[in-house]
Amino acid sequence: MSQNKLLLIGWDAADWKIIGPLLANGQMPTLKKMIDNGVYGNMSTMNPPYSPMLWSSVATGKTPDKHGVLGFIEVMENNDGVRPVTTTSRKARALWNIFHNQGLKSNLVGWWPSFPAEPINGVIISDKFQKVSKDPKRQKPMPKGTIHPKELETEFKDLRMFPHEVTSEHVLPFIPKAIKIDQEKDKGLMAFAKILSENVSVHNAATKLLRTTEWDFMAVYYDLIDHFCHSYMKFYPPKLANVSQEQFEIYNEAVIGAYRFQDMMLERTMELVDDDTTVIVMSDHGFESESKRIVEMPKVQAAAAMDHRQFGMFVATGPNIKKKEKVYGLGLIDIAPTILHHFNLPIGEDMDGKVALDIFNTIKEVKYIPSWENVEGDFAELNSKRDMDKFSDDETMEQLIELGYVERSDEKIQNAVQKTKCDLKHNLARVHLGKKNYNQAIDILLELIQEKEPIDITPYYMDLVNISLELEDFDQAQLYLNDLKKQKTTIKYALFFSESSILLGQGFPLKALKILEIAQSNNRYNNPELWYKIGTIKHQLCNYEEAKDAYNQAVMIEPDKAKYHVAIAENMVALGEYEEAVDSALTSIELVKYFSKAHYILGTALEKIGDFRNSKIAFETAARLTPKTFHRAERAIENLEEIIAHPSVFKDKGSSKYRKEQIVVVSGLPRSGTSLMMQMLHKGGLDILTDENRKPDQSNPKGYFEYDPVMSLHKDNTWLHLAKDKTVKVVAPLLKFLDPKYRYKVIFMNRELTEVVKSQQKMIGRDPETLPMKLFDAYAKQLHKIENWKDKEPGVELIYLNYKDVLEHTKESVDKVISFIGIEMDKEAMANCVDKSLYRNKA
């Protein structure tokens, strides 16, 4: 397949939630035509979702820790001040650098950041081009480096539109009631004129290049939708409670107007490319348009980005692009590798993205090189010190401040420099956090918490809390949270989320739940995440009906969140409502196709219904999506293969089949005969994993057969490999911490609960005839949880063995155990272990 031209169009913040209804109403006809002739799908963003970082990742295929663009602003040379981010912050080669090296011709318009323009084979109209002063009398010449080649400056400079040129004919389609605006008090029209004129300038330059130049690759970036959303999304229907009726009526059509105008510009663009051109339209993130819109932004760095949604949009058409297909699993980090592949060029192995092969009709073999960074030759890169004059860009800074991307700089330059340095380091830590490079993130954050006034160090503590939670180090999370609370800050944190997660991790689910329920009752708005967390804890507590109510609340507020539907599906399985569980799991998969947990729960529900073959497919999909970690799915597949091959073999979670490297676990409530069973298995011929630290005593004269690391199984289960083909005793509450990567044969010792409690009372020197009801209830709940755990874990087989039966029907009990374990054992030696004289606490 020969390479053809490729045009990449960036629509910052474009979101399917707004586009969908416009397509249905025929209000974005050009995009509709592209979708009908090509592929479309979600575009997953990265954290933090700050546009210069994201568009640099689009251009390089690398995460910001590698490409070096770490925010909206940068520190000037010699710490002289701060300015909007420039090309010099980028440390990795972009597509146009690689194409230059490979003899291909590129045009670039408005890319963020692309100033100063690099001397590539082609034309760069940098992001400085469209930035003009709002005041017509204060226009400055275009800075050196705005356009490459320089000779084109004269030709292009008059294509810039100025805000004061905007007429009522331009305004009224977006803001029909603009006449009602009191421009003394409301500066909304001024912001409108600046955003519109800048995007028209970009479009003018792009159309001129499309008409008049030869190129192989061209990229155009528009911030129209993003900037309109930041200014006017709060007025988008439905009206938010804290927006005035008057303002709502004036501005409620502005966002729709931006999308429609963007589509009109696309129409013209598509007229200027031939049918042999591949065209990609994409956004870097979406934009909240429903109840999660924020009317008053908190004062934190890049607060405006809190409105950015996880998923943007992607559409592509072209000769080798599939038609009318939805594609899944795309991330903006995949764009550069995909475009390199389109041009038959190799992908750098150091790139973080992958080639989106799903979009192509004919698939070519993907070629790789270790890194484009190490290739010798001319890549048209700038030498930052040599090629860049000092400049200030007050207008652009002012616009970033107005949009909420940048805080107003401190009057003291050194403070502004210090804050910017901290912000950039913090962003780098957050990139590491997003990549789960926790140690790198922690190192940076620990440095940042040493900062002094005027730096607010609480955001760094907050990230340290979150990392500790991710690492399940709940005590450390508590320490960081305590430190955070001691700091001065103007930021209002929703600390109840962290507090409840810590309590939950420390084993206090009821306290965790209470914190969330209080937060819920105090909350002015319905927060779906809060409902979801409440549902999760209720599910863990086996209050499935209440969990269902909480999850339904979350879905009502935010219906397109896949994880909420998965939670409902999992809960439905627990409620025995398997068909509903299948529906919810499928809804989740529709929203996020490559969601392994959704496929796993789907498999579980289908298995319960008896649809074993589709269940197996679902488990296989789940395992394929997370091959290194999804051991549960692998175990479930093995089980299903047995069911399909021998439907009668597998009953009640116990088979007579020996599982390779199986771990025999003896469990039960305290004083239910677990030590006796350990002794029987030992005498019967099984190896026991024990350290014999706990010595025999009057309560257990023949020994306990315990292994100390078991008691901290909830913190560390990495030693379980030592138990392969052995037997280990694990108390019932810790069973859930067994690593799902192994196969377990669990012999759960059962005893009449009254007997268990009596025996334990006696052991600790209390009156065995006084039954503490709390303890009794707790044990009953524990047994119920074991039932759920056993059903949920595909790697677990479990049989119940009654202590009394072992004593009174020893032979049958021994036979049952040997059959379950699946190997030859010494029956007589096992039976001889039973000493009926030890059965002392009958009910």
Binding site: P136, M142, E165, E169, H203, A206, T207, R211, G257, R268
Partner: protein, 54 residues
């Protein structure tokens, strides 16, 4: 919402008599050709001036 679309497809030069002095969104969407024609029209009409001291 009223968006005026202008049927200008395939034209490389626009006659300024074809466009309104206050322009339109359709004209802006058309890109450089429409914009330059509008600037020319404004110059003739002397309704506006771009003060760019370069």
């Amino acid at each position: 919402m009223k968006i005026i679309t202008t049927a200008l497809k395939d034209r490389t030069v626009i006659n300024i008599s074809d466009i309104p002095v206050d322009s339109s969104l359709g004209l802006l969407a058309y890109g450089d050709i429409g914009f330059e024609a509008w600037r020319k029209l404004k110059k003739y009409s002397k309704t506006d001036e771009v003060d760019e001291s370069e």
